[in-house]
């Protein structure tokens, strides 16, 4: 398509509100996200907020949820659902200080049901917060310079960044940019301070949202920075992925990848996961203009009529990658350079101890499904609080929901190791490689969209799969397995070698053939099946893999070669 000829604009921001979806009107009339949130917060007849305030609060990183385990029971008791709120912290690159950790720990104990949750986008979630405690939580975060802005909602989500501890200098550079990118792209509305900090409303000179305007983005928009050879952030799943290109350990610029996104809906072929397309390279000094250009194209052309079709990936496939690229370059005022060579080796975490080039030490802990809680077996929450109490470096949350105790001076290592031993946080060595490469989304009981268990179920399922691995001698073979409670794909299941997405209680779709370092989508192998069928299929395919794999061949690659599933070359064909 030629740049001059305008594409179809019948569904984007150029249309009057009544021609667009209801959420657009809601945003437009919300007075920059204020809505009636303040009133909702003081209504003591219900633990919930109004439906429209619940939507607006997402822009502030807060989700209304209810305890689904007792939803039905309470309905019969003539009680409203057990409403509570989830708050997601804005933590670019997943880096936080010990003092921030201690505050989060305290908030989790005081208001968050004695638990913290590390997410697949490198941040913390607090669950089970009561409405009347929300302000206390958000003001508590403020004390340690944290907020929950734009952690959800139709705006730029948490900005990811490879945690790779070995390349300390490069990481420091890229991380600094990721942080700036987050601050650059986050919304500006004064509503946040007014509602959560009780600030006075300030008259803004000029528009309150210079970039977003009254209707923000058509849908969530995700940015991530990857530092090869690690693709831990799954750069191809980002709306805008930036692949760091360095020379002699010094950052030069980024390859630009656009249009990643995994969410899909069952029985809706028009929805599909899509891996980002690399469209070129820019020098580091062009980073922010590129971010603005890419985001503004989606802001202006994204579908605002149908939210199932509103992500950037669909805008690209509708308008055509070339046209989108040209439009980006037009807004950028220059052409992108050809993409630079790079290569990824894995999207997992290197667990255990490593030494950075600067001699500082780092230890990556396996936190199963990112759940930080004290259990009879292991007092993980207490242990990490103890470590935060003496740690002088930083913590880094990995995109695989795990945790790095980072920047430890060699002389401080013994003390930290002692605490790890005391609280049993070092037991990851003893687990199977499959478990160490497993991820599950939150799902039940808090997630409103869950159709099946995930976080509460995957550990048991993995235990059963480990038996199969033992019989086939694959216990130490790294294989990625990811489960979600619904097709939305929060644990990025569609780029796992073994993917499981919930369809109904106890029923899952089984996907095989994903790329080990996130370079390829997987393909559905079994639809809507229970545990027995899943284990049987894995026994068969893993057994075959153990016998017939080529040297160094990955399980995902093998399942395609062996013909269990066809290779998915492009998201558009995922459902074929």
């Amino acid at each position: 398509m030629d740049v001059k000829t305008q594409p179809d604009r019948s569904r984007d921001v150029s249309q009057p509100l009544d021609k667009l979806g209801p959420d657009e009107t809601l945003k437009a009339n919300s007075d920059y996200l204020r809505g009636t949130i303040k009133q909702s917060l003081v209504d003591d007849v219900t633990a919930a907020v109004t439906a429209s305030d619940a939507k607006l609060m997402k822009f502030f990183g807060i989700y209304q949820q209810d305890d689904r385990d007792i939803r039905d029971e309470r309905r019969r008791q003539k009680l409203e659902a057990a409403f509570s709120f989830m708050a997601r912290v804005r933590l670019p690159g997943g880096v936080c200080s010990p003092s921030q950790w201690l505050k989060l720990d305290a908030l989790g104990r005081a208001y968050g049901g004695d638990t913290l949750r590390l997410t697949t986008r490198q941040t913390f979630q607090l669950h089970r917060i009561m409405k009347h405690d929300l302000r206390a939580v958000i003001q508590g975060l403020r004390e340690v310079l944290l907020d929950t802005k734009a952690a959800c909602g139709d705006d730029t989500r948490g900005v990811m960044c490879t945690v790779n501890p070995n390349l300390s200098k490069l990481h420091a550079e890229v991380y600094a940019l990721a942080k700036r990118a987050s601050d650059h792209a986050v919304h500006r509305t004064g509503a946040y301070g007014e509602i959560w900090y009780g600030a006075e409303r300030q008259e803004t000179d000029g528009p309150e949202e210079p970039f977003y305007g009254r209707t923000y983005m058509p849908r969530k928009f995700k940015i991530g920075f990857a530092i090869p050879p690690s693709n831990d952030i799954d750069v191809y799943s980002q709306d805008l992925g930036l692949i760091a290109i360095a020379r002699r350990g010094k950052l030069r610029g980024f390859n630009v990848a656009i249009g990643g996104g995994l969410g899909r809906t069952d029985q809706a072929p028009k929805t599909y996961p899509r891996l980002a397309s690399v469209i070129g390279y820019v020098d580091a000094d062009k980073l922010f203009p590129v971010i603005d250009a890419v985001m503004s194209v989606q802001r202006d052309y994204g579908d605002r009529l149908d939210r199932l079709h509103a992500r950037f990936k669909y805008t690209i496939d509708d308008k055509g990658l070339d046209w989108i690229k040209a439009e980006i370059e037009r807004r950028l005022g220059c052409a992108l350079a050809p993409a630079q060579p790079y290569s990824f080796t894995s999207n997992g975490d290197p667990l255990g101890w490593t030494k950075g080039e600067d001699g500082r030490e780092h230890c990556t802990l396996f936190i199963q499904n990112g759940r930080i809680v004290n259990t009879p077996e292991r007092a993980t929450m207490d242990g990490l609080r103890a470590i935060a109490g003496i740690h002088k470096g930083t913590f880094r949350i990995t995109p695989n929901q795990s945790l790095i105790i980072s920047d430890i001076a060699p002389e401080d290592r013994p003390a930290i190791e002692a605490l790890m031993r005391e609280y049993g946080l070092d037991e990851f060595e003893t687990r199977s490689a499959l478990r160490l490469n497993s991820m599950a989304c939150v799902a039940l009981p808090t997630c409103g969209l869950a159709m099946a268990e995930s976080e509460r179920y995957l550990p048991d399922l993995v235990t059963k799969i480990e038996a199969i691995l033992d019989t086939h001698g694959l216990t130490d073979e790294p294989i990625t397995i990811r489960m979600t409670g619904c097709p939305n794909g929060c644990a990025r299941p569609y780029i796992a070698e073994i993917g499981l997405t919930g369809r109904a209680p106890g029923k899952y779709n089984l996907y095989l053939g994903g790329g080990f370092h996130g370079q390829r989508l997987n393909k559905m192998y079994l639809e809507n099946v229970g545990e027995d069928a899943i284990l049987e299929a894995l026994d068969k395919t893993l057994g075959h893999y153990a016998r017939d794999r080529k040297p160094g061949e990955r399980f995902g690659d093998f399942t395609i070669r062996a013909g269990y599933v066809a290779e998915v070359k492009e998201g558009r064909f995922f459902n074929d």
Binding site: V45, Q77, K78, L79
Partner: protein, 613 residues
């Protein structure tokens, strides 16, 4: 005013001429006044109570001439009742006296004009005790007057008192005792000794009535037209249904669910009963009487301690039955009564029990009663080889329990819903459950039947549709308000409504939460204020919420709102009363005396209504 034509046989010629003369001499106003007066007189007569104003008019000036005695003696049967027992007894007493040709008036302390007292000649009082030794709610005004300095000397008065009560309460029949004492102080002459009745009052009451009436009978004159017209007493009472306290209806359980959510410190249930084919009807505000059965495990435990067999035969009210059945369905076998204490003291001859007998040990006895059930006494002081008859002789009949009906027939035809809080506590490390609430919790599962009857609660009904109502209730105290709101929703009532509800925890104890939310949304409920005492320090209760809304509460009262208070009698009701007094002082610009006068007036006007237990 012109003379009328002779109307015929209704009047004697003599009367007719008098009226004629009168008519010509009357001004318009006087004529209207007189017609109203006669209408009022005949109405009052039909209603069965002659109110003071009418009486005073009845009494000709000549009557106040000293020394001149009235033509005949008049007996007034005065009752103070809350749950209807005294009222029912008073009615039959009036009948019995009338049958003996005595001139009778039946009067309720609730609307008795105290000015009348000084003119009373014979006064039979039947009064129950409520709260903690208090007068029935509706009689509080009468008691205040009688025990105040305003009460006149009553040398000419002859009286008798029947006191209804419950011997498990520390201040047994206290209200009746107070009246008896006070009338004596005022110089009245006691005709018959007071009789204190326990909850099985029927026989004792009957005996007292016969004795009292006998004292008057000789003096009785020929009955007058007024007395005769009293025949249809209490016309406001609904036609007696086929089923009543003595003949309860077997109501099928439709549903029985726990309303309190997980983690609650309480267990409060919602129980739906079917009244289908019973012909039973009720109004919002009425209560349902439930006849429970005792806990089978308790019956077994008792039998085991007594070394008696369930099959041992006993006679209950002239009917032969087994001991097992009698203990399960005929007698109270939990709480201790002085009667049982005496009984057991005699049987076992134990010094420790003997020491608790007699009026001068009331306190010690009350304390002992409070922390010993029959089971504990029987275990602690075993009686060797006693037989079934001996044991049950010490027991009193099993009593029905009352529950405010939480539904409206308009919304749930042929159903009655209850909101029941299960009484559970431990005594001597043994878990105990309330007889009726425990029975409803454990054995009223769907399709079982529960014996019930309607207990009208005239003083707790809704006002006209356009009158605003303030409803204050803690815990199960909201039950009648659910009925009120259902009724008003169906009727499309225009009056505003404001609920103050209190419980322990928002998350688990917000009884009927979604229903209140819905009623608020569709405007049937205008306002809702909540107090959850255990969610935050300092603890807040309904009375605190009332105070916080003081200005509006006062405004509502000034605009004619009816005020309802339902639930806990021991703490909530008094605390709410205190809060209301403060509110009236602060916003009504009155001093404390003025404020309590304000509230008494509300109470007398039936605009401040309590249903507490």
């Amino acid at each position: 005013m012109t003379k009328l034509e002779f109307p015929g046989s209704a009047l004697t010629t003599d009367q007719w001429e008098q009226i004629g003369r009168l008519a010509t001499s009357l001004s318009q106003e006087q004529a209207i006044w007189i017609s109203g007066y006669f209408a009022g007189l005949s109405h009052q007569a039909r209603a069965g109570t002659i109110s003071a104003d009418v009486l005073e008019q009845l009494a000709p000036p000549s009557r106040s001439v000293p020394g001149e005695a009235p033509a005949t003696r008049l007996l007034t049967v005065l009752f103070g009742s809350e749950t209807g027992n005294s009222r029912a007894l008073a009615k039959s007493l009036a009948e019995e006296a009338r049958a003996k040709g005595i001139q009778v008036q039946l009067a309720d302390m609730a609307d008795y004009k105290t000015r009348r007292l000084k003119d009373e000649q014979d006064l039979f009082v039947i009064a129950s005790t409520h709260g903690e030794g208090d007068a029935p709610q509706t009689a509080v005004g009468f008691f205040e007057f009688l025990e105040s300095r305003k009460a006149p000397k009553l040398p000419q008065l002859r009286y008798a008192v029947l006191a209804l009560g419950d011997s498990t309460y520390e201040r047994y029949c206290e209200a009746g005792k107070r009246i008896d004492r006070r009338l004596e102080e005022l110089g009245a002459q006691r005709l018959v000794d007071r009789v204190d009745c326990d909850v099985d009052y029927e026989d004792a009451a009957a005996a007292w009535m016969t004795a009292s009436v006998a004292k008057l009978a000789p003096a009785a004159q020929k009955s007058t037209s007024v007395a005769a017209s009293v025949a249809g007493a209490q016309s406001d009472a609904p036609a007696a249904p086929a089923f009543d306290k003595k003949h309860p209806f077997q109501a099928a359980v439709i549903d029985n669910i726990v309303l309190t959510g997980r983690g609650s410190s309480k267990e409060t249930r919602h129980i739906e009963l079917s009244l289908a084919d019973s012909g039973l009807t009720y109004q919002p505000g009425d209560a349902l009487g439930v006849m429970p059965r005792n806990d089978p495990t308790l019956v077994a435990a008792l039998l085991e301690r007594l070394g008696l067999s369930a099959d041992a035969s006993v006679t209950v009210k002239q009917n032969a039955t087994t001991l097992g059945e009698a203990l399960a369905g005929a007698f109270e076998i939990t709480a201790l009564t002085p009667r049982f204490l005496d009984h057991w003291a005699e049987i076992t001859g134990t010094a420790e029990l003997q020491a608790l007998r007699g009026a001068d040990h009331a306190e010690a006895r009350a304390a002992f009663q409070h922390n010993h059930h029959i089971l504990d006494v029987v275990s602690k002081f075993p009686a060797r080889g006693i037989d079934a008859a001996q044991f049950v002789a010490g027991l009193r009949p099993l009593q029905p329990r009352l529950y405010s009906i939480a539904s409206s027939l308009a919304a749930a035809p042929e159903e009655a819903h209850l909101t029941v809080s299960t009484v559970r506590y431990a005594l001597h490390d043994l878990p105990r459950t309330g007889v009726a609430s425990g029975y409803l919790a454990a054995r009223a599962e769907a399709d079982a039947t529960v014996p019930v009857y309607i207990q009208a609660n005239d003083h707790f009904h809704l006002p006209d549709d356009d009158v605003p109502i303030l409803m204050v209730g803690a815990g199960t105290g909201v039950a009648p308000y659910r009925a009120f709101m259902q009724e008003r929703e169906v009727r499309g009532a225009s009056g505003r409504s404001w609920l103050f509800f209190g419980e322990r925890n928002f998350r688990s104890d917000f009884l009927y939460q979604v229903e209140w939310q819905e009623l608020l949304k569709n405007g049937v409920l205008s306002r809702l204020d909540l107090a959850f005492s255990r969610d935050a320090a300092p603890k807040t209760y309904v009375q605190d919420r009332l105070r916080r809304q003081g200005r509006d509460v006062y405004a509502w009262l000034e605009e004619g709102a009816y005020l309802y208070v339902c639930g806990d009698a021991a703490h909530m009701a008094p605390d709410v009363h205190a809060a209301l007094t403060d509110i009236i002082v602060e916003h009504g610009g009155l001093d404390r005396e003025g404020a309590s006068a304000y509230l008494s007036t509300l109470q007398r006007d039936r605009r401040y209504r309590l249903d507490v237990y």
